[in-house]
Symmetry: C2
Amino acid sequence: MEDTHKQQLTAFEDACRKAGLRLTPQRIEIFRYLAEASDHPSAETLHLRLVDKMPTLSLDTVYRTLGTFVEHGLVSKVQTVESQARFEVAQLLHHHLICQKCKEIIDFQWQFFDDAALPETVRAWGRVERKNVVAYGTCIDCLSK
Amino acid sequence: MEDTHKQQLTAFEDACRKAGLRLTPQRIEIFRYLAEASDHPSAETLHLRLVDKMPTLSLDTVYRTLGTFVEHGLVSKVQTVESQARFEVAQLLHHHLICQKCKEIIDFQWQFFDDAALPETVRAWGRVERKNVVAYGTCIDCLSK
DNA sequence: CTAGCTGCAAAAGATTTGCATGTCC
DNA sequence: GGACATGCAAATCTTTTGCAGCTAG
């Protein structure tokens, strides 16, 4: 496992303890897998890939666990145009590229945007906590097909 | 009806004819309502509000019609973290503010962002057709509660 | 007239929930 | 030990689909 993932996992265990969440094998596995995955899996995909390691893991536990993680800000629900929700380990300052053909979601960084101030008019609306860019298009693989 | 909406409606009728879509009373009402609404309603909300005017209108027609409109680029499906999908009349260059408490979605403009070029790294990914900002926070009404 | 829509009802897909049992702290 | 989490099954909620009748062009 990469260092980044180890750190995420430790931070996760600390966050669980702080939030009064029990560290069960299921939760650890689900989080670990999500931290290592880079493809924003759905609950179903996650379950499918984890039942090998953990044959008794049920799909509803995956749903429940992801819900709990999202509530506690450990995991983010990624917006898509598909019917199934997708998830990723919560991290600030990253944005999404979505291929409209293969539905793949890729993360990217954009410092310039992160530093930019929202327009004046938004200030009157309320308090903004975070802002994200979602860009839609066609990935290079799908373009060449 | 405001001029903007009249124009949208005329553009809609033209677009339907061009696309070979029939102009049925249901389609006209659904589009008209969506053009006038500013709150990004879900299919269910739309149906609920239209059955008064059109008592025979069925929910599945609303779903089917919105699907057809989205396919033809007349309407956009708005991504949310809620379970129900929400819709709006398609328009370029606008972004969303989402209140995490009351779930209200507000449009805003941001010329500076629209003009900004995506970072270099994105170019290697493929061809981007559009980019949107989604900002999350708490609206002024919910802040004062 | 007739291809394309609509409404109805039923199905499918995604997610949630009640409950009994098991397990982390 | 006791509160919390899990697994199972059933329920719920959202969206889709098959089909027969209707209607815009």
